[in-house]
């Protein structure tokens, strides 16, 4: 008997061939990958992505936008500089890593998924070669809040590079970036209950040099997260980033 099969276009067939290479190669690599899975929370809540040393090395253009953001913040014009506060827009990368609530890390099929308690947000780091998806609408050409994150393992460290980031997000509650920013993260376990994310910001338009920040997280008990709808909190005039 001839089985019925869905019709796929040429693009899908090509993508499938590429997928075979990437997915097959991933199986062994993933089995050996260090395990970062669990529930995590910032060890010391902060709204600021603070440089490891010194101050943020703004260019003149970056400083100007930063000062403008401060002016808009003082004025309460949130939608003019921070649409996370005004609309619950995804804070993006790296600001999601500053949310004060918990997040989960899952590692499955070569993809590391960060599942945030805040507004049920997601970000992912792809550690295997995946083919381009069938993308008739060109969605993947448009910068997004969480960008495109490609990762690899260097020993026990997950190294992730994120690009294709929308300039509609901020690095923290004030610091701007451009669409050309590259974020490099080095995630590792300092001990079984402590996760470190060393973040390097590289954006020559707004910063004179790449600069580093380090965030540390403590392991939390396994738990299901309560359903969080940021827009409900926004409507109720509650905090956009609640601490629970």
């Amino acid at each position: 008997m001839m089985k019925s099969r869905p019709c796929h276009g040429t693009a899908a067939v090509v993508a499938g061939a590429l997928l075979a290479v990437g997915l097959a190669a991933s199986a062994a690599a993933q089995a050996a990958a260090p395990d970062l899975q669990g529930v995590w929370k910032l060890a010391a809540p902060t709204k600021t992505l603070k440089p490891v040393s010194g101050s943020v090395p703004f260019t003149a253009q970056g400083r100007k936008q930063y000062e403008e953001n401060k002016r808009l913040q003082a004025k309460g014009s949130y939608d003019d500089y921070d649409i996370t506060l005004s609309r619950c827009n995804s804070p993006g990368v790296p600001r999601l890593m500053l949310t004060p609530e918990r997040f989960k890390i899952w590692q499955q099929l070569g993809v590391v998924t960060f599942d945030f308690e805040w507004n049920r947000a997601l970000r992912q780091i792809v550690t295997i070669e995946l083919p381009p998806k069938v993308d008739f609408l060109g969605q993947e050409l448009v910068p997004t809040m969480t960008g495109t994150s490609k990762g690899h393992w260097e020993g026990d460290i997950l190294v992730a590079e994120t690009t294709n980031l929308s300039d509609r997000t901020l690095l923290d509650d004030l610091v701007p970036h451009t669409q050309d920013m590259k974020v490099t993260e080095r995630l590792r376990l300092l001990d079984p209950d402590t996760l470190e994310d060393r973040i390097t910001i590289d954006d020559p338009v707004y910063f004179t040099r790449p600069w580093d920040a380090v965030l540390t997280y403590k392991r939390q008990p396994a738990a299901l997260f309560p359903e969080d709808a940021c827009l409900d909190r926004l409507e109720a005039h509650q905090a956009i980033f609640p601490s629970r």
Binding site: C7, A11, C88, L109, L130
Partner: protein, 326 residues
């Protein structure tokens, strides 16, 4: 090898049985159905997007369909509504021959899954091909919603304002999801709507939340190799699909989920959903869906509806109007 019975065989068998019990069909139909399977050959297959019968779709009954049942006034009201949008689904890459496969354990559901069937905008028939059993209250709700579309003043619903749309609509959308699993709970994480459907296996470790949730509270248990999940305690009434097939806030969904793997490189999840809601229906009714294994869709596209919904420069509700209170 034990052969799994496919969705379609089960639908035929159950549909035949349903009508036989109701005295509407006799042995001739059972024999005809059996002949059809014999001619069709062995091997369970996942339902496909094109060319396959719709599990609960709106197409005319097939060659072995029973004679139509007498229509109730509610049936008549629903049948006179404008037809739903013709379904479609986005293309997806085929699963390559050497792709990783799901775990052999039938109780291990982990992995990436994607709908094998086109989105059904309005559920008009159950999995046996029988009309959805509306009572008049339910028919009126559906008619109001469908007519609001026709009139150009569609109603606000959870999806339209960027809120979780409930388990059935969430699963039915043609977007991939991942399943993460532990002994205490099973989490379905979806690409779309920031969707997260949590199935609690040990309620002692995850009691009902203090505040009701849009996705409700879902408790599961294993019945053989089938995960049976009862969902209820919803924060608000749900739309079960795009056109607004209703579920009252007191309604329940009972899902029966099993992984089917016939060693044909096309494993799938079969999810039967039984709608239990005396507020809107004369009896429980069931639809079935199938979700194929797609490890290449583990990386999701970003979903960020808040950027548009919250934009003060556009109409926040996109021109939708509040639905009248009942």
């Amino acid at each position: 090898m034990i052969r799994c019975i496919s969705v379609w065989e089960r639908i035929y068998i159950m549909r035949t049985e349903f009508h036989r019990r109701r005295g509407l069909k006799g042995l001739a139909m059972v024999a005809a159905a059996a002949l059809a399977f014999a001619a069709g050959g062995a091997g369970a297959q996942a339902p496909q997007a094109q060319g396959a019968p719709q599990a609960s779709g709106s197409q005319a009954p097939g060659a072995f369909a029973p004679p139509p049942m007498p229509m109730t006034p509610a049936d008549k009201l629903v049948s006179e509504l404008p037809a739903p949008t013709v379904p479609g689904m986005r293309p997806v890459s085929p699963v390559p021959a050497d792709a990783p496969m799901p775990a052999a354990d039938p109780r291990d559901l982990r992995g990436s899954w994607y709908h094998n069937q086109a989105l059904e905008f309005r559920m008009q028939r159950d999995m046996y091909g029988v009309l959805v059993p509306y009572n008049m209250a339910g028919a009126k709700v559906l008619a109001r919603r469908v007519n609001s579309l026709k009139d150009g003043t569609p109603y606000i619903n959870a999806s339209a304002i960027c809120r979780p749309p409930g388990p059935q609509w969430q699963r039915d959308l043609n977007f991939p999801f991942q399943i993460f699993q532990s002994p205490d709970w099973i989490e379905f994480v979806f690409e779309e709507y920031h969707g997260r459907w949590q199935v609690i296996m040990d309620p002692a470790k995850a009691p009902p939340p203090r505040q009701k949730e849009y996705m409700g509270y879902s408790v599961g248990h294993w019945s053989g190799d089938t995960l049976v999940v009862e969902s209820g305690d919803f924060k608000q009434a749900l739309w079960l699909d795009v056109d607004g097939t209703p579920l009252s806030a007191n309604g329940k969904l009972i899902q029966r989920i099993r992984k089917v793997d016939n060693a044909d490189h096309a494993p799938f999840l079969e999810i039967e959903t039984t709608v239990v809601d005396p507020t809107y229906y004369t009896r429980p009714w069931t639809v079935v869906r199938a979700f194929g294994w797609h490890p290449g869709l583990t990386s999701f596209n970003e979903y960020n509806c808040e950027e548009q919904v919250g934009d003060p420069s556009v109409h926040a509700d996109a021109g939708l109007v509040p639905e009248p209170k009942e």
